[in-house]
């Protein structure tokens, strides 16, 4: 299908909207009525047609506007994109992975023509048609990592693998849930995960790291993570906390349906061929509560998850203060009926709200 790209903002007047198509394919992250951290990794080799899991790098109606927002963030703060000197090769790996994947998965939107090292890249939605020499940085307007991630939705952490650990030695991070590349750069897997509550004690990071170090070329993996964001903000960074943190206090019973967003990250893991690095794309999807509850199953379930979530998690995710407001709103969309297992909307089989 052809995608109609929205013209919208993730700041100021917040004109971001999800179409009915985007609502239906939203990656709802809860497969049951409760939530706890787990080693929730699976293979990333496609998924149901039309779902966000189908393609290697999902492109949706927010693409063009998200890229415009990224450019604004970078103009104010160039340190959102960094690459330690030994990571340049991984940058080329990532550029190749994305160009090949997108041109194969979306041939009507992206084209890659390769003649030896002479490459021509056509990105129709963004109006780009560039010819460059693969592995020659002087032929691109930015380094390879920055060049390609200015054209790809989601944040990117690029991890060097050595000494039995992963090291955050490069990245493009402008749509993050309150963490900072500039702070984490050079850290290892356990160091950057240090602030996360409970998961260390559960042995989750130890097992996750072993799995990640074993991710092989051609066999990517994925997982989902989630949090809450007031207003459809992509850039909820510590650097700009003074701008967005205060917006959390503006939530009321009247505006919560429109303002409060569930924020879901589709995180994928790819082994990069030339550098042996691991790339970790973190793709952010936002949905307003009022849109989410149009799917009866999701409304019921989100209420139960948020109501019963351990306090440590609600605190870490930054919505403990607003939780009573959320529960109040969501409870009106929960009639106590049982929910079907799995994440899918099941619109045909799940009954409408009975109250």
């Amino acid at each position: 299908m052809t995608i109609q790209f929205n013209d919208e903002t993730f700041r100021g007047d917040y004109s971001f909207r999800n179409s009915p198509w985007a609502i239906k394919r939203f990656p709802f992250p809860f497969h049951e009525d409760s939530y706890m951290y787990s080693v929730n990794m699976e293979q990333h080799r496609g998924g149901p047609a039309g779902s966000v899991f189908e393609k290697r790098f999902d492109v949706d109606e927010h693409y063009v506007s998200e890229m415009r927002d990224r450019a604004l963030v970078l103009a104010e703060d160039p340190l959102r994109c960094q690459s330690l000197p030994h990571m340049t090769l991984a940058g080329w790996d990532l550029l190749e992975l994305i160009m090949v994947s997108k041109s194969e998965d979306y041939p009507d939107l992206f084209e890659l023509h390769r003649d030896g090292d002479r490459w021509r890249w056509v990105n129709k939605p963004l109006g780009i048609d560039d010819t460059f020499t693969f592995m020659d940085e002087t032929t691109l307007p930015y380094g390879p990592l920055e060049y390609i991630t200015r054209q790809t939705q989601g944040d990117f952490a690029v991890l060097d693998q050595r000494d039995d650990n992963l090291w955050m030695d490069a990245g493009m991070v402008t749509t993050q849930a309150d963490w900072s590349l500039d702070f984490d750069i050079g850290m290892n897997f356990f160091e950057w995960h240090a602030p996360v509550p409970l998961a260390h004690e559960l042995g989750i990071f130890k097992r996750a790291l072993k799995f990640l170090m074993n991710v092989q070329q051609g066999a990517p993996a994925r997982r989902l993570n989630w949090t809450m964001t007031v207003n459809p903000l992509l850039d909820t960074s510590p650097e700009n906390y003074h701008k967005w943190g205060i917006q959390k206090t503006e939530l009321t019973a009247e505006n919560i349906g429109a303002k409060q967003h569930l924020r879901v990250e589709l995180q994928t893991f790819y082994r990069l061929p030339r550098s042996n690095a691991l790339v970790f794309p973190i793709r952010c999807y936002l949905i307003a509560f009022q849109d989410l509850v149009t799917v009866p199953k999701w409304g019921r379930r989100l209420h139960r998850v948020i109501r019963d979530l351990p306090e440590e998690l609600a605190t870490y995710k930054g919505f403990i203060a607003n939780r009573p407001l959320m529960i109040d709103y969501l409870s009106r969309h929960d009639d106590g009926l049982p929910t079907s297992p799995g994440v899918w909307a099941d619109l045909e089989t799940e009954p409408p709200l009975q109250k």
């Binding site: 992250p29 497969h31 929730n40 030994h86 799995f211």
Partner: protein, 328 residues
Amino acid sequence: MSAAPQKAKAGAEKIEVIVSAVVPVNDLVTRFEFRRPDGAPFPPFSAGAHTVVEMKDQGRTRLNPYSLMSDPADPSLYAISVRRDDQGRGGSLFLHRQVKPGDRMTITYPVNLFPVDLRGRKHVFLAGGIGITPFLAMIAQLEKLGARWELHYSVRNAALGSYAGDLTARHPGKVRVYHDDQQQAIPLGDLLDGQPLGTHVYVCGPKGMIDWVHRTATEHGWPKDNVHSEEFLAPQPGTPFEVRLCKSDMTILVGENESLLEAMERCGVDAPFLCRGGACGQCETDVVDHDGSFIHRDHWLEDDQRASGKKIMPCVSRFVGPTLVLDR
């Protein structure tokens, strides 16, 4: 469970290839070159990577890992060099005796357990015999990056020094060859002492040589993380074994090239799974009875759970013995 778990096969993806050349290098070593039947480019790889070659040898499958020695920048072919091992389990004999140009074979996507540390200011390669192969790819890669390297290559005699002539001719100042039959040995201690800060050392060769390099480097005050050696985790097809599944009320046979999980799925048992890599815990299964030993390969079970003999992770782990009964 999470989103849309995939029943894709675990482990590395496979590539169909055609043997495009079989080139004797010397009395013991032969080079095999592969191309893709459709002429498509191979996946790029990083120097130090190996591929696992699948060999159908008289009804059984052998899976042997070999370092990719071709230039990582050349996607038109993959090449390996294989030393004939007359005492070994037979993979090298099969390749030397049976494989001819034009044959079709299956190999895996490259896997790298011996990567170059790209932060290194300088890279010193220590090769013993056929251990030269990963360094051929590393040298090609580092030459392109303009990085500093040198190679010290120990061979039995001049006639068995695979690629030694080529290497010295092409990189005169950077390659030293040492001949056992002339009582020449790599002057390891001096070599290690003379390196600039930030140098990384890589060794590939017989086990004795690898141990010697690690030991000497430690004695000379080298940080552990600056000394690298190839650790071949030989892939594990495993002997077929029989499993009784209580709840499903059936007995199934797990073949040598499938996992226990895959065998259950093949027989129509709806077994839970998520990661298919031994990390998520979803496939954890209770053992009702067993006579034999477990081969646990997961990252999930704790040591005491393994010792108890009451749990198995079917996505990666196997069993050897006459009786295994699972609560599935």
